[in-house]
């Protein structure tokens, strides 16, 4: 439609009405006879003389279009109409509101809403919108697919690692089993003069089995054999795993290469540490000392609970027995034929001096190195072996964790205790993963240190602590609770000042749990002496995790508050310790 028409469009009804009002046009355009129609008698004249007065054009078809637009409808001329003109060019239009006697209704004559056109637009809009939504969805879906693919790749890789690790672990366990069988065979003829006998008999006695100490080791060995043979792996699963590894995941692991069950070395003196340790660990794998009575029980298999109880029995746990004074009085009397030799690796002269003093007061022989590199050199150059190592973590030249890794290559079984103030769970996990056996939180106390020594060197003691004097397994946390997993936000970054009585040592099992849960790749921890401790015991005092958690929630980070000693005590209730 053209602009002029647009301009005149509004009020078209009024225009038409005005035209008809003019009597001088009666012969050209007039009301219909019923007063409800609009009759153009002479189209040509109307176009020429009337239209220009009211519109900006003189075009009959434009006018008719305009009328149509305002919803006027052409009335079909009736054949007998009196209005019929001889010229035969009569046009009659009708609109429901176009009446001669009701001018008010003229206002109701409006331009028809361009409904269909509008609908079209709506449709287009909807369609466009729809398309854009769909393309967005498509993009989102594609992204999801991509993410899923990435996730899948990641999971596949993780799974591959896990499968490999499980296989590796299976092999390790089998190797250990074999080695333990060898050990047992070897031990049998020695059982009469074996110095382990006291421990074993105590174990059994404390376990409620009355047995003669003389032949105590025989049932013990038999039982150990039974234990070993009673646990068998699911061969079908094993094969499936192997199949997965070989066919699905391709390459065999390097790690499997390091598991080489080795035959027993000659041991002239089964009790001597030097020959005891290098039993079969190869490469990075850290071996278990099969002679250690604890280990026989602590293979990470499910075991009858009474065995656990007896094993736990020879763990030191006696916060009330004030070992320090005991030690001060007769330090030498605590130990067997030879004093333990302890290696303290610590760069801080103050810490070192105090540590040495503490250890000496316990009757230990102490050597000191002030950095990891020095420690490593000394360990490898000495002909005799240390029974235990306390290792600072942050040191110049070579840090404690790295030093431990180096030492582990040649000395897989020496207990190495991390001595550090960095004891956030993830840090502690790292220590265990790299072959350490325990953590002594700094600032350490004599008590904590003593517990550590007593735990790892109980085999050298004249009278190893036993269950009766320690209490029934109280204070052991061998991985039966998730209280230290990584989701827990307990942070011991900077330990609070220790109270005199509360030890601050952590058990491997206690700490090991998170790593056990978080991935099998941490086979170090599993094998190096924490893993074998890490078994569910059910002897952990219920209160412990609650205490930890409450301390956590009440104080947030312990390092942020000046914890009074009693808080520390509560946190380490006789429980600070275990293996």
């Amino acid at each position: 439609m053209s602009n002029p028409e647009m301009a005149t469009a509004t009020g078209g009804g009024n225009n038409a009405s005005d035209m008809l009002e003019d009597p001088s046009h009666q012969d050209v355009a007039r009301w219909g006879k019923d007063g409800d129609t609009f009759v153009v008698v002479e189209g040509e004249k109307f176009t020429r003389s009337i239209l220009p007065k009211h519109f900006k054009h003189s075009n009959m078809s434009s006018f008719i279009r305009q009328l149509n637009k305002y919803d006027f409808h052409k009335v079909k001329p009736s054949s007998d109409s009196e209005n019929s003109s001889p010229l035969g060019n009569v046009l009659e239009f009708k609109h429901p509101y176009f009446k001669i006697d009701s001018k008010d209704d003229l206002d109701n004559i409006r331009r028809k809403a361009p409904a269909p056109r509008k609908q079209q637009v709506n449709e287009d809009f909807t369609t466009n919108h729809h398309i854009s939504v769909m393309s967005e969805q498509l993009a989102a879906t594609q992204q999801q697919v991509q993410q899923l693919q990435e996730l899948f790749t990641e999971v596949s890789q993780t799974n591959k690692i896990l499968v490999n690790e499980v296989l590796t672990l299976t092999k390790i366990i089998n190797a250990q089993k074999a080695a333990q069988h060898e050990m047992l065979n070897y031990l049998t003829p020695y059982n009469n003069d074996n110095q382990r006998t006291p421990i074993i008999s105590q174990t059994i006695n404390s376990n409620g089995r009355a047995s003669d100490a003389d032949d105590a080791s025989v049932p013990e060995l038999r039982r150990a054999r039974e234990l070993l043979s009673s646990v068998s792996t699911d061969s079908v699963t094993d094969r499936e795993l192997e199949r997965l590894q070989q066919h699905v995941y391709g390459s065999p692991t390097d790690s499997s290469a390091m598991i080489t069950p080795t035959s027993l070395p000659l041991m002239n003196d089964p009790m001597h540490d030097i020959t005891r340790y290098p039993v079969y660990p190869v490469g990075q794998t850290v071996g278990i000392d099969p002679f250690h009575s604890d280990h026989i029980h602590k293979i990470p298999y499910a075991m009858p609970s009474d065995v656990n109880a007896s094993v736990l029995g020879d763990q030191p746990q006696a916060p009330t027995m004030a070992p320090a004074p005991t030690q001060t009085e007769k330090p030498d009397a605590m130990w067997g034929p030879r004093k333990p030799s302890v290696f303290l690796v610590e760069d801080d002269p103050i810490c070192a001096k105090i540590g040495i003093k503490f250890l000496k007061s316990m009757g230990c022989e102490v050597e000191h190195a002030s950095n990891g590199a020095d420690a490593y050199t000394r360990i490898n150059s000495l002909s005799r072996q240390f029974d235990m190592i306390f290792m600072d973590i942050i040191m110049p030249r070579l840090d404690g964790v790295s030093a431990t890794m180096y030492i582990r290559q040649s000395h897989p079984a020496i207990p190495i205790i991390a001595m550090t103030s960095n004891i956030r769970p993830e840090e502690v996990n790292g220590y265990f993963e790299h072959g350490m056996n325990g953590v002594l939180a700094k600032p350490f106390t004599k008590e904590g240190m003593w517990k550590s020594v007593r735990t790892h060197l109980s085999h050298l003691m004249k009278n190893p602590p036993q269950e009766s004097e320690i209490g029934s397994g109280a204070g052991y946390f061998m991985g039966s609770g998730p209280y230290l997993n990584t989701s827990t936000s307990i942070k011991f970054e900077s330990p609070t000042p220790p109270s005199g009585t509360a030890g601050s040592n952590w058990s491997p099992g206690q700490i090991q749990q998170p790593s056990m849960g978080s991935g099998l790749e941490q086979n170090f921890g599993l094998l190096n002496g924490s893993g074998q401790y890490a078994m569910a015991t059910g002897h952990r005092p219920q209160g412990f995790s609650a205490n930890l958690h409450s301390a956590d929630s009440s104080s947030g980070r312990l390092s942020d508050v000046e914890s009074p000693p009693e808080k520390r005590q509560r946190l380490n209730p006789q429980s600070t310790y275990s293996c």
């Binding site: 103050i350 900077s494 330990p495 109270s499």
Partner: protein, 144 residues
């Protein structure tokens, strides 16, 4: 043994020194002398003075890493003998040097950390002076 010998708790303020920790060092002394604990405590004095000097140097060089390391170092020894305040101050230095806030969250603003370090080192020195004076006084009684 002098009958009027002061017990550590009579002389030492427990807000400065954690008596449990300090006492276990005193327990290591032979009954008739204080050689061991004296050597520890005075050894610590030397170490602290050296460390403070090193901290000043590192601060002048804006060597945050070194400051953190020094903080860690002195934190260990001060904690071992129970010098609570000094230990806490050292921990702050350790954290600021690592570009961290006290709560361990990271603080990217190096200038802010340097400013905090300057203050923290000042505070640690003051706290150290305080506890040093007290400890020296405590050991003076054995000289006579």
């Amino acid at each position: 043994m002098a009958p009027v010998e002061d017990q550590p708790e009579d002389v030492l303020d427990s807000s400065l020194v954690d008596l449990n920790t300090f006492n276990q060092i005193l327990e290591m002394d032979e009954p008739d002398d204080h050689e061991f604990s004296t050597s520890i405590v005075f050894g610590f004095f030397d170490q602290a003075e050296e460390t403070f000097a090193a901290m000043d140097t590192a601060l002048a060089e804006k060597n945050l890493e070194e400051l953190s390391s020094l903080g860690h170092f002195l934190k260990g020894s001060s904690a071992t003998i129970g010098l609570t305040k000094v230990r806490d101050g050292c921990e702050h230095i350790q954290r600021y040097g690592k570009l961290e806030n006290i709560d361990g969250s990271s603080e990217p603003d190096e200038d802010l950390c340097l400013e905090r370090l300057t203050k923290a080192i000042q505070t640690v020195k003051e706290d150290y002076k305080e506890v040093e004076t007290v400890l020296r006084k405590y050991y003076e009684q054995f000289d006579s």
